[in-house]
């Protein structure tokens, strides 16, 4: 285990056995993070801006067809392929184990997007606008990204920052459950659990030790901070 320079290592556990594929997390993410509103054409061209997507897979042959859902956002890899390839350090690793993105520094080589095995980095192909009254919904905590830059899930870093400020003002560390990214907060099935993986007692860390755990594309050795849970005797569901 590498030496941690921070008491936190943020991570998320997603229980696929709980996920219903309702898509509430996608909407919450869009609302929280000033994610660009895409037109129909933009989405048809494969240029949608979602930081979080629900992958839907059909399993089996009719009539015995099952559907499986897989919410995929930035995996905040400990050995992130996107980081070393950025020529300007727009993609960087922060001490909390988050994979950060500096929008103002990004020149738009899109190299990180190519090298991301999870294809979760979205590029502002179009300039995005928030027609009235949608502009009232923009969060003041977050930059509105210009066209030509990369963006992606930040684990709602604005919420983490706010909690850090509050806790340090009170002279304590952040409590388990104090921070919830918009997706986890919204999930009606409580499939998403966010927490500090460096604290073995946190709920996320306990869930991450489950025998049902796996990482996406584990063979690549990217060491993601997002842990998926699947199995539990319900493989065929």
């Amino acid at each position: 285990m590498e030496k941690l320079t921070s008491p936190y290592k943020w991570g998320m556990v997603i229980d696929l056995d709980r996920c219903t594929g309702c898509g509430a997390c996608v909407v919450a993410c869009q609302a929280e993070n000033n994610v660009g509103i895409c037109e129909k054409q933009e989405i048809a061209e494969g240029r949608n801006m979602h930081w979080l997507r629900i992958e839907r897979f059909w399993v089996g042959e009719y009539p015995d067809v099952r559907v499986r859902f897989l919410p995929v956002m930035c995996q905040h890899c400990q050995d992130a392929p996107c980081e070393p390839v950025c020529p300007v350090y727009a993609s960087y690793h922060n001490p909390d184990g988050l994979n950060g993105q500096v929008y103002n520094r990004c020149v738009g080589t899109r190299y990180c997007g190519n090298n991301c095995p999870y294809a979760v980095r979205v590029f502002n192909f179009y300039p995005h606008e928030w027609p009235k009254p949608l502009d009232n919904q923009l969060s003041p905590d977050i930059t509105v990204r210009a066209r030509g830059v990369m963006e992606k899930c930040s684990f709602c870093i604005q919420r983490i920052r706010r909690a850090k400020e509050e806790s340090s003002a009170e002279g304590r560390t952040i409590q388990d459950g104090e921070i919830q990214p918009a997706c986890a907060q919204t999930c009606p099935a409580e499939a998403m659990t966010f927490g500090n993986l460096a604290d073995p007692a946190s709920r996320a860390a306990r869930l991450a030790r489950s025998p049902r755990r796996f990482h996406l594309l584990e063979h690549l050795g990217t060491h993601p901070s997002v842990v998926y849970l699947k199995g539990g005797g319900r493989e065929h569901v």
């Binding site: 061209e45 738009g108 899109r110 999870y118 294809a119 179009y126 210009a146």
Partner: protein
């Protein structure tokens, strides 16, 4: 008294013929330059359009974040390998037949790498912030990321532009002095500055020979490194189909293949336009044909190894990329294999074919079309089918991207046309040196080899 060395032509006649390209431009030249300039202007307009509107005017999307621009980049970097490599290898191996070719080849290198260097800037999402990638001291204490292959690219390309320009200029010096002595007025003044006071003394020639041999030896590692680094753009990633250890040598071989083919095409064009049939003989095409044959065999071997190992391992994610490529891009794949392997190997085995200008033109053009497709097939199908099947996509180039690529071709041709009009396009002093070395000098009744002898 010794007579002048026996040559069929007088010195000034040879000079006249080899410098024929410097005569005042004809209407045809103006038309050509205007046409090429117009195409470049179209490309510039397309690029401006892209900069004003956003990257959506290209065909790129998620997951295919790179497309025609990077294809163009790799292609032009590849082409730039011709000149310097061909010229310096032949110089070091003392292949005398190189002499009439080398100037065109070296100039081509400089212009190709210049064109290539523009693509990474054109393809940026925010072109106006390109200077973030340059390591310059700034108040914010920010420094570019030297772990990124794009930074290696920039370093290597800058080094190559400087190196190949010096290489070209060094070879030009004695020829510029000849042109200086034959011109008057303001042209004379310009050439006098460019010739840097070259007088042709024995000391100058001795330094010149040492310097050009040294430059030839030094530029080879730079050239190899440039295309290895371009290959690393792909090989150091975790993208299936790119992450392959054979990429650097494979790319270098591919670069030399397209480069040699482009030199042959250029030789044919220059020979035709400037009527240099006496200097660019079938012997030259024969030799260049042999070179192309060898490189084509090497390319075929490298490609075979790459695909064969993937097929043998049959790692599912990697194999998906290859099967997607072969099923969705079958015509392109066939054009590529025919152009890079079948055609050169079948035709260039025969001396008669190598000496036929028509066949050589056809083969060399096809090789370069095939090499462009090869670059495209490395980049686009691979990105289309990466690790996550849910995020698969497709790509087709937009009008803007096509226009910019056409403008790159026209820009290269324009630079070359201008160069040929203002600078000696055949290495005059090298050609004359060979003639003198080979000439028999009369001594009494006998004719003896020149004391200069072979190198």
């Amino acid at each position: 008294m010794s007579e002048p060395p026996v040559t069929t032509k007088s010195v000034s006649q040879v000079n006249d013929e080899l410098l024929s390209s410097l005569r005042p431009p004809t209407l045809g030249w103006y038309l050509l330059a205007f046409f090429l300039g117009a195409v470049v202007a179209c490309g510039l307009a397309a690029f401006t359009w892209q900069m004003m509107n956003g990257m959506y005017v290209t065909g790129k999307n998620r997951p295919v974040m790179w497309g025609f621009y990077i294809t163009g980049f790799v292609f032009w970097v590849g082409l730039s390998h011709s000149g310097t490599m061909v010229s310096s290898i032949l110089r070091l191996s003392r292949a005398h037949w190189r002499r009439p070719i080398l100037r065109a080849a070296e100039a081509m290198t400089v212009f190709c790498i210049t064109v290539a260097g523009l693509f990474p800037l054109i393809h940026l999402g925010r072109n106006w912030t390109f200077f973030y990638m340059i390591p310059y001291p700034n108040q914010r204490g920010l420094w570019p990321n030297f772990r990124s292959p794009l930074l290696w690219d920039m370093t290597a390309i800058t080094a190559y532009i400087i190196g190949s320009t010096l290489f070209l200029y060094l070879g030009l010096l004695p020829d510029l002095a000849v042109v200086r002595d034959r011109t008057t007025g303001w042209r004379h003044k310009v050439y006098a500055v460019l010739a840097m006071g070259w007088r042709g003394s024995a000391r100058e020639w001795s330094i010149y020979h040492k310097a050009s041999t040294l430059m030839a030896a030094l530029i080879i590692p730079v050239a190899v490194s440039v295309h290895s680094i371009v290959a690393w753009d792909f090989a150091v990633t975790v993208v299936p189909g790119w992450h392959s250890t054979i990429f650097p040598p494979y790319f270098v071989i591919g670069a030399i293949l397209s480069g040699v083919a482009a030199v042959i095409t250029l030789m044919i064009i220059i020979r035709k336009i400037f009527r240099l049939e006496e200097y660019l003989t079938p012997l030259h095409f024969d030799n260049m044909g042999k070179l192309l044959l060898v490189i084509s065999l090497l390319w075929t071997y490298a490609y075979f190894v790459e695909v064969h190992i993937t097929w043998y391992a049959h790692e599912p994610i990697e194999w998906e990329v290859f099967s997607f490529l072969s099923s969705n891009y079958t015509p392109q794949l066939l054009i590529m294999l025919v152009g890079n392997s079948l055609l050169p190997i079948i035709f260039l085995c025969f001396r008669k074919m190598r000496r036929s200008i028509g066949v050589m033109l056809m083969v060399s053009l096809w090789v370069n079309v095939a090499m462009f497709i090869e670059r495209f097939l490395i980049i686009v199908p691979t990105l289309s089918h990466k690790n996550m099947p849910f995020a698969w996509g497709t790509y087709s180039p937009s009008l803007v991207e096509t226009l910019v690529n056409l403008a790159a071709l026209a820009g290269f041709a324009l630079l070359f046309t201008l160069f040929a009009k203002f600078f000696p396009i055949v290495a005059l002093s090298d050609v004359r040196e060979l003639e003198l070395r080979e000439a028999k000098v009369p001594m009494g009744r006998a004719r003896l080899s020149s004391i200069a002898g072979k190198e």
